[in-house]
Structures are given as C-alpha cells and as structure tokens.
Symmetry: C2
Subunit: 417 residues, 2 copies
C-alpha cells in the first residue's frame, strides 16, 4: 500500500471487496436485491425527477440541442421503465455456476468449466441516465460489482439513482459497494479507471464513436468495444424485389438513430434498372436523402455520394447507395467500409445466401430480414448491455452470459503427474 491511493482506485478497491461477496451470492439473494432496487426507484420517483430536472435545466442553459435534452430527460414512465427493466433481469436465469463444459478425464480427474463473474466491471457512457439502472441490474445479476461513469450532464440524476440503488442493495443483504458512481469531475477519473488494470476486470464504453475510440486507445484494462454500426443491405440479383424494398425501408427508417439501422444500400447490377427507381422513390417518400454512386445519382433527387459517405454512420434519414457488379463485389465493398456490426442480403438463391453469410465478417449476417433484428431483446436474451463489434470474448448482442468469465474446477483423488 502506498500513501496516495487515488479516489477512483479507492472506489475500485471497495468494488473489488464487494465483488467477493457478490460472486458467492445465491440467485435468490440477487433477485431479491433487484426487486428491492425496482421498488426503491419507483418510491423515489419524485427525488429522481427533481435531480433530473436540475440536469435538464443546466443542459438547456448550456445550449444543449433538443434531441440530446430528450435523451437526458426522465419522466414517470421512464423511471417505471427502469424499475421494470430490473424486474425483467431478476426473471432471467443466473449465468453464474453454469457448467459450460465438463468431462471425466482418462485418469479419473473430473474436469468442469464453470461460469463465474468477471469481478469488477467499469461502464463509461453518455447522456441517458436510464443506462445507470440498466447496467447496474445486468452487472448485479451476473455477479459483478460495477463502477459507473456517466456524463457530467447527467451527474445529478445518476447520483440520485445510484444512491437509491445502493440503499436497496444493502437492505437486501448485499454490500452497497456493488454499485458505485466513479467519483470526481472532468476527464481525469475516467483516465484513472482506464489504467486500473488488476482492480477493474473489464471496461465497456457505451456511446459514440469518439468515446469508444478514446477508451480503446487509453485503456490498459481489457475493453469490450460496442455499438458503432455502418450496416449494409445488399439486394442480390435473385432478390424478391418487393421484399427487398420493404427490408430496405424498415432497416433505414424504423429507428434511424440506433446502431442496427441500415446506413448503406448495395444493389446487384442485373436488377438495378428495375429496382433503383422504386427504392429511390420509396426512400425519398419516407424522407430519406439518398447519397448515391453514378448509377443512383442519375435519378432525380439523389445526391452524389463522396467516398466518405460510404464510411459514415449517419444515424439519420440518410443512406449511401451503390450498384455492384456481383455478390463478391458487394462482399469486398462491405469488407472495406463496414464497422462489422450487421449486414443483410436479400436473395432467393441458397448459394448466394451461403456465400454471403460465409464471406461477410461481421457480428451478425442476416438473410431476408431487416438489420434491425440485431438486438439482445429480439434475439431472446432478455437483457442487453450493448452490442459488441469486436471479436474477442463477445461479438454481437451481449446478454448475461457474456458478462461472465469461466474457471476450471478439477477434482481428483491424489492425482500426480
């Protein structure tokens, strides 16, 4: 022990201590804590909304745009939503203790690979204060103590939510320090968190590309990258064009601001003549600006695309669009421009579907359905901490099992080598 423990390291040490008890807690205890936390949030609606109103007022006075204010704002329904989210997590199976693999070796040793919590998880996230309760619930159920670092704009909301959650956890018999806000202001606390290797087991950034890049660059703690989605829909030569039209529209317009929305459209040259006018019409009719290559740009109202367009996650009613000579060219385009989140093909050809799903290297590859299905809820995971776009540990929507590690338990009877 040195004499100068940084307050963030001190919080991480408290989390580490709390995580030992939490790792040994039964499902019954954890679920009781989650229900207690849900009740407590609802009971504290007034104080949470009061703290949130102060955050929103400051943000508005600081010139924050309306779209961001909306993400920051809580109301009764959103507080109830947080509480219901915690109850949902209580209803999910406990991943801790699951035997992933097991066998009796030739020499009689019994080998079991068992799911265990990571220990301490750090979450760095942006404006939405409901992430505070969601992340705390998922971490608690998976047996992990959590260090939450939200944005300064939501500090009063997050402080009140965490106060309520900690009190409820303690009443249910768990250490309050299983849930903590990272203390301190400015950028320094997050920087200390990112260098707390050995104290923090994994860091999950949730937010925009800039936030995620800076965490990846600066962390010595292992990071799970989430969320950036430059998702493609490829309309194959053998596509049902009515189906393709509906999928493109749904993928682009159902909820344009989220990571599994489509950002780019590729069309096989053989169906370009038939499909381009229809899809451009429909997209324009839905308020979408099409940023097209030469073929697309020959149509009314299409904006000529720059190379940068094809690398852009718009998160708005914009889409880049290009004609490709064949499926392999579509795959090559996707390899060059995709962020590795989700790509869809529309085709009736089994061969095309097989080739596309084998060759495209993304977290999710979808045949004849909207990119919007890449989602923990849609996949039936019940809860989601984020969508991993990296290949290590977890890829795609992350549910409770993805929030655990494993250990080997080996039992013998005096076995020697």
């Amino acid at each position: 022990m040195t004499s100068t423990v940084h307050p963030v390291e001190a919080a991480a040490l408290r989390a580490r201590t709390a995580s030992v008890d939490l790792a040994l807690a039964t499902r019954a205890t954890k679920d009781a804590a989650l229900h207690a936390m849900a009740e407590a949030l609802e009971a504290a609606t007034a104080s949470i909304l009061e703290a949130n109103a102060a955050d929103v007022d400051s943000a508005r006075a600081g010139g924050t745009p309306d779209a961001l204010l909306d993400r920051l704002r809580l109301d009764e329904a959103r507080v109830r939503g947080m509480a219901d989210g915690l109850r949902d997590v209580a209803g999910l199976a406990d991943p801790v203790g699951e035997v992933v693999r097991g066998s009796t070796l030739a020499n009689g040793l019994e080998l079991r690979q068992v799911r265990v919590p990571f220990g301490v998880v750090g979450i760095i996230y942006e404006a939405r204060p409901n992430v505070t309760a969601d992340a705390a619930g998922i971490c608690l159920k998976s047996g992990n103590a959590v260090l939450l670092r939200g944005s300064s704009s939501a500090l009063r909301s997050n402080t009140e939510i965490v106060r309520v959650l900690r009190e409820a956890a303690a009443q249910a018999g768990l250490p309050a320090d299983v849930v903590q806000l990272v203390p301190g202001e400015g950028h320094e606390p997050a920087k200390v968190l990112m260098r707390a290797r050995g104290l923090v087991d994994v860091l999950i950034p949730r937010g925009g590309a800039g936030l995620i890049r800076s965490v990846v660059e600066e962390s010595t703690v292992p990071v799970i990258e989430t969320g950036v989605g430059n998702c493609h829909v490829y309309v194959d030569r053998d596509a049902d064009l009515d189906q393709a039209l509906a999928i493109v529209l749904n993928a682009k317009t159902h909820r344009p601001s989220v990571c599994n929305a489509a950002e780019s459209l590729l069309v096989h040259a053989d169906v370009a003549e038939a499909f381009l006018p229809r899809v451009v019409d429909a997209l324009r009719g839905a308020g979408v600006t099409v940023h097209g290559d030469e073929r697309f740009a020959a149509l009314d109202g299409v904006v000529a695309a720059t190379e940068e367009d094809f690398d852009t996650e718009y998160l708005s009613l914009d889409i880049s669009a290009a004609v490709v000579p064949d499926l392999d060219a579509a795959v090559a385009h996707i390899r060059q421009h995709s962020s590795g989140h989700t790509e869809a093909i529309v085709t009736r050809s089994l061969e095309a579907a097989r080739r596309f799903t084998a060759a495209v290297d993304s977290a999710a590859v979808i045949v004849n359905a909207s990119t919007r299905f890449t989602d923990g809820g849609e996949f039936g995971f019940g809860a989601e901490i984020g969508i991993s776009t990296q290949k290590l540990h977890a890829r795609g929507p992350m549910g409770l099992p993805e929030m655990t590690s494993t250990k080997y338990v080996v039992t013998g009877d005096g076995h020697l080598r």
Copy 2:
C-alpha cells in the same frame, strides 16, 4: 491508401487478404496443408539445423547462459517433434463452423451463433523456435493467418522454419501469407504490430512476465495474457497428509520451470505440527529451498521468507511457505498474492472443497491433485497455444476453440420490425 505503409503493416495487410481465403477453406484443405507442412519440416531437417546452429553459435558467443541455449537448440528429435505436433493438430476437430447456440425465434427467424476465425493473430514469443511451428499449426487449423514475432536470437531458425511452412502451405493450395514472420529488426516492428488495431485481431504474448507486461501496456490490439503462474497448494485441516505430501512434492518438483508448478505452500494451523517437519524434510530431500514464515523458519534449513517471496514466481527449486489460521485466511492470502493461474486444496472435507473452489478466483482450482494438471494436453484439448490468466475471452488452457470468435447468422423470409 497513404504513401507510407510500414513493412509490418504491409505484412499485416497481406495476412488480412490471405485470411479471407483461409477462413473459407474446408477442414480437408487445412489438414492437407498441415500434413504437407509436417513432411516439409522433416525433409528440411538439415537446413533447419544448419540455421539453428548459427543461432546457437551467435548466442553462445554473446554469453547466453546454458539453460537458454538449450531452449534455443534444435536437433533431429525436436524437428520431428514439431512435425508430429502439426500432424496432431490435423487430427483435431475443426472449430470453425461449429454452431455454438441456435434457435428459431417466436417470429420464425432462424438464429445460429457460429464459430468463425478471428482473422489475423499476432504471436510475440521468446527463445524456443519450435513455438514457430506449433503456433503456425494451431492458427492455421483455427482458420487464422498468423504474424510471428520470435526473439532475435532465433531469427535464422525461425526464418528457415517459416520459409518451409509457407512453401508447403502454398503447395497445398493455401496462400503462403497465412504464415509470416514479422519483418524487421529491433523493438520497432513489435511496437508497430501492437498498434495495428483493425489489421490484427488479437495479440498473444508468450514468454516471461516482462514481455507480457510490455505487450499489455503498449497494445491497442486486444491482447490475451498468458502464462505467469504463482500457484499455491493449500493443505487443509482435513487433508490426508500422505496425499498432501505427494501433491506438494509433485507440484513443486515435477518440472519447476513451467507456469503450473507450485510456488507457494499454505498449511492449516491445526495440522502444522504434524505436517511441517515432514514436508520440509521431503522438500529439502528433493533439493528444494523452503522460504518460510515464522512457523516454517523455526525448522532446520528453512530460509526466512520476505513479503516479496510470496509474490515471486520462482520457476526454480524454491517454494514460499506459510501457516494460516483457517481456510478463509488461505483464500485471502491467495487473493492477495496469486497471479490467478492455478491453486490447489488438499482436503477430505466436501465443505472445504466447495468453499475453496467457489471463493478462489483463479483460472483453475484443483482439489486433491497436483497443480501440474492445468495444461491443454492434460485437459484433453490436443493442442494448446498458451494458458490465459485473464478473464476476457479465454481463461485457462487455450485450445482450438479459444482461437476463434463467433458470428450470428440470422435467416428470415422478409421479416420486418
């Protein structure tokens, strides 16, 4: 494309291109390549031994100690061992394409989570040139192109081995660039490799604690930490003391230089009087120096331990030793000092075994057997790229499945949200 691509980045780009073909290669093609590589190594024994002799001569002239010279040195049997290792890997199941999880969702969408290669793997390792062939074989079978960075002392050996492996891979119909040495001399090439995020999917350092620490500190590429083992044996109050004696001796002396050898002995106070004289006698008889706490140091020939001893991975005929008041104190001691590799308990008590295996947070927790069993070969994995001591992605011995990621393949029939 900028005009200045570093040679290491150029190699990584070539690996990336080759990895696309390799990811789509069938098991038959990969196994044929592994067999061709094995034959080619044996056929090239003379040129490999010649290159190796030059490495050994230089190292000896440079004053390298005998133990390290032995790790560097190849002979006919070791070349044959490399070839047999490749044949063994050919005999193992292909992890690529395995369906890890699958279901049909309520809306009829078919969901499959499928194992896929990482893409490009970087391995940074120390003296032993046989790692070159082992790592290349495991990466090839798991569908990953590999960038190998061995030590400069083995450069001529590694260059010749990689030349032979590449030629054989190409003859079997795979791109030669699925196996490459990282080009260039000095520390800079490894530094470029560690910053090649987006080109290299995962880095695995294999070697001493210093090497691993520097890779963890400097990499932006995700890293899997391997190998440092400060392993404990805890002799419980309810231990069979004959069994405990045999396990301690085996764990310490069977092969002291490896990561799963025991480095520290903890004994429950209730059996200290009966066990300490016996175990110290036996260890001293086997040539082991015991670095003991006060209780141990009261015995003849025991050296008084410093606090540093309990944090030391000796990798030699030394062991630290302490008496603990109870099981929970043993767990606390392990939490404080262990590197998270392997800890063993010797006990006849089911309750003690349950508590120890639940509370100890290490990659492997062993009951009534030697720590030496934490090993891919012993676990029946058939091949091992290393033993992960981190919690993300893989923990414990890493076989072929641990060298893969997954992706979700989702098939619908025009599904929209």
